[in-house]
């Protein structure tokens, strides 16, 4: 056997990242479960993983969870889609036209930095507890990452590449299709990752304040009823959705923009 033989990587070496991450989650859940072996357990005030799991299975089997999620999904889709369209359009104009950005930057920055959820009761008063009120709250929270990322994307367009296309006789349309859009798209997708999290906050807050159905309403109602196992089961469902959406976007990003990998 030669000295240069590469030592074979063991299974644990190869999957170290996943194993360590999974181990931390397992320890967290086990510790949560185990702490009630010492601390007295009262299901009116706390819950633990095995009860939450049972509640989750119940909610799935009865169809309640899916019904609530489906109801909440409708305003989410409306609000989020509007945020994409308005945010991207506004951001591109702000990135392209200096005067528009001078005018709008301060007000946008103030809105983005403030806890806009505080406006939720007002929105409910104006637009009611239905789909439109919720959609507007989601829109308001998730539009800003699109604005700021699209703006940053346009500003980051390489002038040299504009000159390359122009020098080869490219038209204004060619500049958009061959340089500006491909430059800005990855920024918008990165903005979408942030916006998803904020949009989910929007749906919960909207349904906490005033709603008669939906996943946020379910969480609030189970809390009021001291059904903490079910409340946590619903929160867990939202967590799974948030992770699936953001990681899904990250995955789509890698598949759609392979040139970004090396940057």
């Amino acid at each position: 056997m030669s000295d240069e033989a590469i030592p074979r990587q063991s299974f644990t070496d190869k999957h170290r990242k996943v194993l360590l991450g999974g181990l931390a989650v397992a320890i967290f859940l086990a510790a949560w479960q185990a702490v009630f072996l010492v601390v007295p357990f009262n299901k009116l005030f706390v819950s633990k993983p095995d009860l939450i799991w049972d509640a989750l299975v119940d909610l799935i089997v009865s169809g309640d969870l899916m019904r609530d999620l489906a109801i909440s999904a409708v305003p989410f889709v409306y609000g989020f889609s509007a945020a994409v369209v308005v945010g991207v359009a506004l951001g591109i104009v702000m990135g392209w036209r200096e005067r528009v950005s001078y005018a709008l930057d301060p007000i946008m920055t103030i809105f983005y930095a403030s806890p806009l959820v505080a406006l939720a009761p007002l929105v409910i008063v104006f637009f009611g507890v239905g789909v439109s009120g919720k959609a507007i709250i989601i829109f308001v929270l998730s539009v800003f990452p699109f604005i700021f990322n699209a703006q940053a994307g346009v500003r980051a367009v390489d002038r040299l590449l504009i000159n390359v296309v122009r020098s080869m006789g490219g038209t204004e349309r060619d500049l958009y299709l061959k340089v500006i859009v491909p430059s800005v798209l990855p920024y918008i997708v990165a903005g979408a990752r942030i916006a998803v999290g904020r949009g989910l906050i929007g749906i919960l807050v909207g349904e906490f304040f005033a709603a008669s159905e939906g996943i946020g309403y379910a969480i609030a109602r189970f809390g009021d009823l001291f059904a903490l196992d079910r409340m946590f089961a619903c929160i867990f469902a939202i967590m799974v959705i948030a992770v699936v959406l953001t990681e899904g976007i990250r995955w789509a990003e890698r598949a759609a923009f392979p040139w970004r990998v090396g940057q």
Partner: protein, 256 residues
Amino acid sequence: MQAYISGRNVNLTFRPPNRGPVRALQNFDIDIGEGEFLSIVGPSGCGKSTFLNVLLGLIKPDSGDIRMDGKPLAGPGTDRAMVFQEFGLLPWRTVQANVELGLELKGMSSDTRREVSQPLIEMIGLSGFEGHFPHELSGGMKQRVGLARALATDPNVLLMDEPFAALDAQTRDLMQVELLRIWQTAKKTVLFVTHQIEEAIYLSDRVMVMTKRPGRAKKIFKIDLPRPRDYEMRVTPEFNELKLQIWNELKDEITV
């Protein structure tokens, strides 16, 4: 010699916002023969790259007469192509798609584009890399793609703006040899801007020294070294004599 490209009394002043105007070119004259390889050396900021952009059609001069093949220059056109110092490759396009960019802008079908790009990619030695993205290539490979892209539209004039300045010294030497080989087969008129006197002598038929800003032609050296040129030529007495003469003209223009 019949001038293929001629510039007479070209004047250009930049007026950047919030700053004073900058005179880039003043009464700039130039004549380039058909098929000639002319290099311009000059101090940083003397307007040599600016003149390339004027020839490319991206910048309009304030005054002056610029003609190509007897006709006044009007805007960008596929009879000229630029090789940029920073390559200017579109990062979201593969090697092949970058080479085909100019053909695509002309509205050529993908089959015809491929017929043009395939031999070019072969010529620059990147067969097998057609599907690679720029970030997967070395600097030298990127500039080969830049060169192939410029040649794809079959321009009469190649404008080269310090094309090898971003490369390491060894890669640069090899790229110079490569460029001469391509120039000799493709028969293009080349206007080559550089900071390196040695590079200018080795490649060119003539070398123009420019004054500091506002730039104009100070002196033109004819390089009577035989072609094809090889690497050993750089250590001959004739070569070094030229190098010294050009340096003596250039050094007065440089402020450190």
